[in-house]
Symmetry: C2
Subunit: 182 residues, 2 copies
């Protein structure tokens, strides 16, 4: 990639990061280009569609989540690590406007691609299988399910972190009262 192209690419991602976190995933791509000091054609050449831009913007943050999953998998107790990680994902997704949209790219089967959602689900799979091994998670539950769930909650609550956290707790525990039988 030519040096000027790389410079423009970086400027666009940086500006998009600011604007998306300020205004959400539906920012005007024109404005991103304007603030980045490039023509809109340049933006569209580098990023064919809004999703491609969002993927680039969140790539680093997602990478952080992946590292964190590996770290938790190695250090934490198998059952709790998954819950801790999902709450961290939830916080990330809820407080980063537009991330949920990026995670749900292609909406349905987010596997096989190298999209943010696919990579996140893959990282989660590690923790899920650990948790299954110690009987803390049903076999029918997949990491992809959980990522979709987190994303959906985040989409639904807007940016209300407290409610998002509460709904995730609810979904992980179920609606029934805690079984006091042990």
């Amino acid at each position: 990639m030519r040096a000027d192209a790389q410079r423009n690419y970086d400027r666009i991602v940086s500006v998009a990061d600011d604007l998306v976190s300020r205004d959400g995933a539906e920012v005007s791509l024109e404005e991103v280009a304007r603030r980045a000091g490039v023509g809109s054609a340049t933006l569209h050449r580098h990023f064919p569609g809004r999703l491609a831009l969002l993927e680039a913007v969140f790539r680093d943050r997602i990478a952080g989540l992946l590292d964190r999953a590996r770290e938790l998998a190695e250090t934490g107790p198998p059952g709790d690590s998954l819950v801790v990680w999902l709450h961290e994902v939830n916080t990330y997704v809820t407080t980063s406007r537009g991330l949920a949209a990026a995670l749900l790219a292609h909406g349905e089967h987010l596997a096989e691609d190298d999209t943010c959602g696919a990579k996140t689900a893959a990282a989660g799979e590690l923790l899920v299988s650990q948790a299954k091994a110690v009987g803390r998670v049903r076999p029918s539950v997949s990491a992809e399910d959980l990522i979709v769930l987190v994303s959906g909650i985040s989409l639904a609550v807007g940016g209300d972190s407290e409610r998002s956290r509460r709904l995730l707790d609810l979904a992980l525990a179920g609606i029934a009262p805690a079984a006091t039988s042990g």
Copy 2:
């Protein structure tokens, strides 16, 4: 309301119903107006904003859900009725493109208004309090939470009914294996 105004209103809602269920909540309002045979100004006069139109489109379906909640509250076993009703809501919401968006109108506190979401949550409250009374639901869970959850799941899965149903089951039961002790 003048007779012609009423006629236009009805035509717009009817056409919007078709187009939203075919193309989702993001239909072009211009196209709705075009197909309804009215000027776009007429549409915008009757419905100030996309959400107002969606509310009108789904009002009848929502009314059906409310009746169903009352019916289940009277006839069904308190614990199961809630689950049955939530699955019915889920099916409705997932198969009616755009309904989730309508239910999440104003996103955050959907109480107090007479929006679709508020009315649905109110109807659910009946079943929730029944279920709490028989110890099937934790006191900290509100009907509003559950409606937001259902809507979020629906948004996240696109139109995949089977997955939507599975995720709702998951969220209601929690991720842990079924307690075989009880």
